[in-house]
Symmetry: C2
Subunit: 370 residues, 2 copies
């Protein structure tokens, strides 16, 4: 098979397209926040004048400093701006992390279910993705014992996890960092949904290892998905190599996105964002619990992973019927791997409460629960 | 050697950094236009309001339509928007073209001298770059006979060429398209500097082959480098695979860049851009001809390739001395390959005429020509 044929499409994109054709559709399928940016971000763009040159390949130094300050303020971690690079979305950061860490033919461990881009980007670079099956028994976390019998070069985790919203516990995160550091395995920690945590603040892998690669960005908590701006924190020893890869891969991220993102660290705005999603999470979890088996209450992100097996053993057909009969769009679990994903669908709570409520009413009717 | 160690840095970046520390430096090193965007682009950004969602992975349909119209108006070619995808700069388009076309271990032919990102991106994907030496004998063009004895899967050309500014003739471009089509070789044609041609309008490879992959973007002629917005035109048969790769690699290009770029096709503005660079080209070519051997007068782009061998056999040392003694920054030829590049430097005419004139005065003094 040719390299590019090994990448699998996102089935949810068909759902997104079909739902876009239904004016009254309820959207539980969309993995991006619906809130407007922080007021300072909007003002910065409106005051735009003149020439828009490339920035440095690692990104605007002032923005790297702002991110360093964010790690100080949020986690009490001292990360110098010299260890931070801006990337074209977190997608660009994943690709950079893989290119820096893995040669063709080497293996990266990924959780199943998990974010499908990881394995697709691995295949793009001829890296072998190794699926580690996880479930509610470990709150959908990979634990060190699951890695015992595998020869891996890197481990890629995400916390909060897409699609389940579970967070890695500090104890397990620390144990994974130790496991990886002792074996020369690179731990790549996707912390893109940090900030959107509702029960306890999430801990960064950087609290436990200076060799961990941490990836985050402005698309979720900061509500700037279309800005295509992510960041990566790397060990100091690889920064020069990272710069060389980025010079070639991106030249630099979009300049206006970077300049406007300087105004994204607005505590009052961010607190409102978190509370908005917390309210939605609380509502949707309560509303769906009588209808589906929900193995974990999401601690973070804006997703909820629901077992539909009392109604169907085929989440794709279930999602299609729900869309066409009730005009409710959800993401079929099969997009997230092969580990019992035909029994699950993912709900995203990325619309206002009234929209979610109408969705729940329709689902009840669809399931004959009224 | 690990994969990421096979990428070579741009030496010019050291020059850029050192020149940035000299307030009175003259900049011949910078490969981006200095002109402000078209007025409509500026206005579009200033009117920005509210939410910034992702666009479709292939980019805003209206922008793909605008690009299709541009090919109709400029080249008389009918390219449907369904064959066009927006990418994160032309860098993203190169990576996509390589991922779609070449498996690990396969070979891509590149010209030497040539744009160094090509070979670095090839190495990132474990593709073998094959350097084809070119010189003034063919106006720095690759010709079909240079490819006769090589087993290649793809050929990547650029017209106008960075660093020499030469354009591929229609006859040679047609011959290369035929050569590639007959042998199942994918021709990738980088047409990023189209529009910035001063003697005859450049022809697109799409005029001669529907199987050619054409890459261009908004960074040069449209003067939007910091927007990070390129495009790629692909055969219809690979569009679905391209969409899948882009979903993973970029999700989508920056939304604001795309929305503003809708206003970039402004004929009056673009005519002014072209005339501005033509005036600079005419001046600099005349001014430098007495000082250096300039093998080809640039037909396009904003670069001039100057043989310094009557002064030095080491372009890197020459560039450093010129910077430190005369505060004039140029790009050492070694950044562009290994084919007699130690004898050349590249001049970019990306600053106003007075700046270029002052640079020439300083170079004359430096060379003892006054």
């Amino acid at each position: 098979m040719r390299r590019c044929d090994t990448l699998r499409p996102f089935i949810v994109m068909d759902i997104v397209r079909e739902a876009a054709g239904l004016p009254d559709a309820i959207h539980f399928e969309i993995g991006q926040p619906d809130l407007p940016p922080a007021p300072g971000v909007v003002r910065a763009l409106q005051h735009f004048r003149g020439h828009v040159p490339y920035t440095e390949s690692l990104g605007l130094y002032a923005l790297r400093e702002a991110i360093a300050k964010h790690y100080h303020d949020t986690y009490g971690l001292e990360i110098g701006p010299g260890r931070i690079a801006l990337t074209q979305g977190s997608s660009g950061a994943f690709l950079l992390a893989y290119a820096l860490t893995l040669d063709a033919g080497e293996t990266i461990a990924l959780s199943d279910p998990g974010y499908p881009c990881y394995r697709n980007l691995a295949r793009l670079l001829d890296i072998e993705p190794l699926a580690i099956g996880v479930d509610a028994a470990t709150d959908y976390q990979i634990t060190p014992d699951m890695l015992q019998n595998h020869e891996i070069r890197a481990l890629h985790i995400a916390s909060p996890v897409n699609p389940t919203g579970s967070c890695y516990s500090s104890a397990n995160l620390q144990a994974l960092c130790r496991h990886c550091d002792e074996r020369g395995i690179t731990l790549i920690s996707d912390e893109l949904y940090h900030g959107l945590t509702y029960d306890a603040p999430a801990q960064s892998a950087l609290a436990f290892s200076d060799d961990a690669i941490v990836i985050s960005g402005f698309s979720k908590y900061f509500c700037l998905p279309g800005f295509r701006l992510g960041w990566i924190i790397l060990p100091e020893t690889v920064m020069r190599r990272a710069e060389i890869v980025l010079q070639n891969m991106q030249i630099a991220p979009a300049t206006l996105s970077q300049e406007a993102a300087l105004h994204a660290f607005d505590p009052e705005y961010l607190a409102t964002v978190r509370e908005t999603f917390r309210t939605r999470r609380d509502y949707l979890y309560e509303a769906l619990t009588p209808l589906f088996d929900i193995p974990v209450k999401p601690d973070g992100a804006f997703y909820l992973w629901a077992d539909i097996s009392r109604y169907s053993d085929d989440s794709l057909t279930f999602a299609r019927e729900l869309l066409h009969q009730a005009h409710v769009a959800v993401t079929p679990g099969v997009d997230f791997g092969a580990n019992r994903t035909r029994r699950f669908v993912r709900f995203a709570f990325t619309r206002e409460l009234e929209h979610l409520q109408e969705g729940v009413r329709r689902i009840k009717r669809f399931l004959g629960k009224t």
